[in-house]
Amino acid sequence: MPYDFEEILETIKMTEIEHFDIRTVTMGISLRDCADRNISVTTQKIYEKIMRLGSNHVNYAKDVERKYGISIANKRISVTPIAIVGDAFGEDEFVKIAEVLDKAATEVGIDYIAGYSALVQKGMTNGDLNLIKSIPVALSTTKKVCSSINIGSTKAGINMDAVNMMSEVIKHTAFLTKENDSIGCAKLVVFCNAVEDNPFVAGAFHGVSEPEVVLNVGISGPGVVLDAIKNAGRVDFQSLAEVIKKTVFKITRAGELLGRKVAERHNIPFGIVDISLAPTPAEGDSIGDILIAMGVEDVGAPGTTAALAMLNDCVKKAGLMASSSVGGMSGAFIPVSEDASMIRAVERGNLSLEKLEAMTAVCSVGLDMIAVPGDTPATTIAGIIADEAAIGMINDKTTAVRIIPAYGKGVGEYVDYGGLLGRAPIMPVRLISSSNLVLRGGKIPAPIRSLTN
């Protein structure tokens, strides 16, 4: 037998007991050739292109799942930022594009379609502005469309006008989807340093330097890392780092294999494997549990940031060894609502918004799936976005905010979406005001890259 008994059982244990799955295979489709001055022509072209390229996506992914015995949780499509495709259009016309994206996504059977996006870190075109204004209606009238706006970067600084505008958009989206716990906000991300090849929603889009069509894959697997750490027992940090790296190496290899096979079936180029550890609400499939297994009593205890920093670094090192096509976010995600252990830490009062913010300085991606009271002022949300973007801008990393000001709800209540989005307890936000700061408007200039002390 070319493989040991233990090796084979290890793989079976990963897939059957430890929730190892491939989180997503995301097909990136360029829609740049769909631009037209007539909205009906544009929507027709977009619909036809997605149907032509994406109609086999789910079937191919299912074949590969079956062949290798590893499940693929989500099948998704990302598209060129829609503000680029429809730069000449007004708000209502952008909503029509969102509707056709939703229709195509439903017909090809994928879970999400992402790329209702604009990149405005330096400034806005008319199209960017109209797209941003259309987001609340677009997200409340569609189910599968996800939107992201990049408002800052290390090279350009932070566009505070866009930050203010996005905080109003978030509030309005929460209001328009109030019947469903403001779910629109769970499909809307504000980025600093957004990446062009990210396969994870809601922040995925098909960047302008990407090819015509490409297949990217995002792995998962916190449960596998958790069990490895538990089995290692009380060892020192170097030994712990070894354990994490060995485990992540294996899951990255499996992820790349599956991604390449799906791309092969489509006969399209394979893009990247995103080595992020993405949790799910399932028990044990949690980043919070990993931090606890590393030694903190609960997420939020002093030392949590250090533990997360080491985890994130080990994930990157092992992933880079395992694949030559690493890209996307590639780190550990800490979305509150999607991680049972993080939810518990918030419920117990051990994890605050401020500690989460510190944690996002050392991991990907940012303040993710955080529910706050519905009466939180837009300027406070703008302050939270600006803080998070500043961390990304100064540290030359991607940060994001996906925040849900749950309309009509307050601290102690919950938003509950089920599925991968999970449920989130509403966290308290400081009541002191940020308005005189954020309403200055303009841009925070790009930072210096030397004297980094």
């Binding site: 037998m1 070319p2 493989y3 008994f5 090796e7 084979i8 059982l9 290890e10 793989t11 079976i12 059957e16 074949d63 079956r66 062949k67 290798y68 015995g69 590893i70 294996k250 899951i251 290899r253 499996a254 790349e256 294999l257």
Partner: protein, 139 residues
């Protein structure tokens, strides 16, 4: 495969005559493969990825597990390349490497057959393509 330029040109002309307007990339590929196979110079293996599959089975020990699995495999025309079986306490574990390239059934059908007998034997049976183990455990 060594073909001279003349032979390649001849094949191309034949293909153009035969297929004419109906030529699609797949049709040309099929035609060329058939011609080359007929000439006996080249053997094409349609399944160029290996057909080796790892079968893992475990559950409470009982009589007849191995025989039911191997009978089904032979019915499907699968070749057993290696087999390793252990009883750990009262648990039965078996790992097999099988080759399904000669089977008229594909992996999905064989998996369905196995699911059926797994249910009646009250054991778990997983079939996974060999590549996943190679990628995870071999550099």
């Amino acid at each position: 495969m060594n073909l001279s330029e003349d032979q390649i040109r001849e094949l191309a002309i034949q293909a153009v005559k035969e297929l004419g307007d109906k030529a699609t990339p797949e049709a040309v590929q099929n035609y060329i493969e058939n011609e080359l196979a007929k000439s006996g110079k080249v053997q094409f293996n349609k399944n160029n990825t290996s057909g080796r599959v790892i079968l893992t089975s475990f559950g409470l020990n009982a009589t007849g597990i191995v025989s039911s699995i191997t009978k089904t495999l032979s019915d499907c025309n699968c070749d057993i390349l290696d087999i390793s079986q252990k009883i750990m306490q009262e648990f039965f574990t078996m790992i097999m490497m099988i080759d399904i390239s000669n089977s008229e059934k594909d992996l999905k059908d064989i998996q369905e057959e196995m699911n059926r007998i797994a249910e009646s034997l009250k054991v778990k049976i997983y079939l996974q393509h060999e590549d996943v183990f190679r990628f995870m455990h071999r550099i």
